[in-house]
């Protein structure tokens, strides 16, 4: 990777429910020698709740413009933030009148279309590359992993950076760190149910159950993922799913940045591995 500096967009969950994703992202980039500069005074991307595309473009024009002033591409560990940043980026780049409309709202929204928005998984595999990652790996993460991609890595086609039905980037990363991917088939890309958690918990829990039980049945030691809403649903709400559906799962759920961090020899506490809700100790025992 030629550029050794990126603008970092942590996203709202980084301050609370996905603290471990934030910690591990920062730690991994530091270890890889890439400087992350947090987008100064960043605002929320609108998540799945801002349904008006114009509102999404306005919210993200501000974040993109801040990174553009620094002359840096923007990277985020959250799949939903990535989707909103990149779809805004595409829309604003293509449409001069839309850019003018943004500028009219406020001068801080004056984004000229000069940068890219990237997801951390895309940066690891396609930018830094497997050869460089391999050269920095010092430990074998000897675990069976169910690679879970969720929605916004392979979909929709306009912003996707992996295959919609059979994505491979996380699989490749897991192999490089010494792990083994279990057969997870179409579950890889099935929605976790997160968007309905607050309005139709019954549906959301059933969606989450399908993924968790599929991972268990496939013999996985853990699920790896790259989105804080998936993390919230599959990890933080796992005890609620177990209670509501009267089942036992006990499936550790770990951010891909945490797994990569372990392979890079970073201290588990620096990767926030004590902050995942389902205990991760057994996984740590398999890092050799």
């Amino acid at each position: 990777m030629s550029e050794k500096k990126l603008a970092y967009y942590p996203g709202c969950p980084s301050e609370a429910t996905a603290l471990e994703q934030h910690m591990s992202t920062e730690a991994v980039f530091e270890k890889l020698g890439i400087e992350l500069t947090e987008v100064e005074d960043w605002n929320c991307c609108g998540a799945a709740e801002a349904e008006d595309p114009i509102l999404v473009y306005a919210l993200n024009a501000r974040n993109l413009a801040i990174a553009e002033k620094e002359g840096l591409d923007i990277v985020t560990p959250c799949s939903i933030c990535y989707y909103n940043l990149e779809r805004s980026n595409i829309a604003l780049k293509e449409d001069e009148s839309l850019r003018a409309k943004m500028k009219e709202i406020d001068s801080s929204l004056d984004y000229k279309g000069g940068i890219k928005a990237r997801h951390v998984l895309d940066v690891f595999v396609n930018e830094i590359g497997m050869d460089e990652l391999k050269s920095k790996i010092v430990k074998k993460v000897n675990v069976k992993v169910a690679p879970y991609y969720g929605c916004y890595i392979g979909r929709p086609p306009t912003t996707a950076f992996d295959d919609p039905d059979d994505p491979v980037l996380m699989d490749q990363l897991i192999e490089v760190i010494g792990g083994e991917c279990v057969q997870f088939g179409h579950m890889k890309t099935k929605c976790c149910g997160g968007p309905l958690m607050m309005t139709r918990a019954d549906i959301a829990f059933e969606m989450g159950r399908k993924i968790l039980e599929a991972a268990k049945n496939a013999g996985a030691d853990c699920i790896a993922l790259a989105c804080p809403l998936c993390g919230m649903m599959l990890d933080a709400k796992q005890p609620d799913i177990e209670k509501a559906l009267n089942i036992e799962i006990g499936m550790p759920v770990i951010y891909i940045t945490q797994l990569l961090g372990l392979a890079l020899g970073i201290e588990p506490s620096k990767l926030g591995l004590n902050k995942n809700v389902v205990d991760t100790k057994e996984i740590l025992g398999k890092v050799v």
Partner: protein, 213 residues
Amino acid sequence: MTIKTWELDPNFKNEIMSEPGGEHLASCFQCSTCTLGCPIAEIASEHPEMVPSFNPRKIIQMSLLGMREEVLSNPDLWVCLICHTCTARCPQDVRIADVLGAIRRIAEKEEEAGKLKIESPRPLFDKAFLHQLEKYGRLYDMGLAKEYYPKKEGSFIKGMMAMKNDYKDFGMRMFKKGKMGPLGGHGLLKGMLPSKIKQKDVMKKIFEKVEEK
């Protein structure tokens, strides 16, 4: 379902197509690929007691026919996950997830105008979420829950009880992991107070001016 041709609104498709996200509606040729891949349609087939039916193909066709009232009052609109499986697989690039979003926004406007009653708490949730951004520039979980639950339950007391019921265990879990609550995480009141951005005035402007358009 009987289709009363004299009650159809031929302009409904244009109404949807002039909303951002709804532009590709008319390209649909009714192949059903969207519905066959949809995870909510799957839930409907496995658990009809949970979701009686779910058929995005049908919503699109009803929209094209101009069945405005039936579409806007259709409860299916509010259980779409926006997972974009339909969008990814559609051979006609209809972008169904975005089209459904455009239809939801028309339904919300109808409700605001007093012409429709939406039987789902989702618009309340989305609004409560956006209010946090408007006020603070970032999501404030506690603020969101405190606004959403009373509105969903119809009273402050009922709302607080429902919130406690849903989130007591979860809150304790987050507290123990140092992610939320007093003495957790990076500070004494992590998650208890909103994380505010400096340029809150810009957020206010964004919400005011986008609404005008």
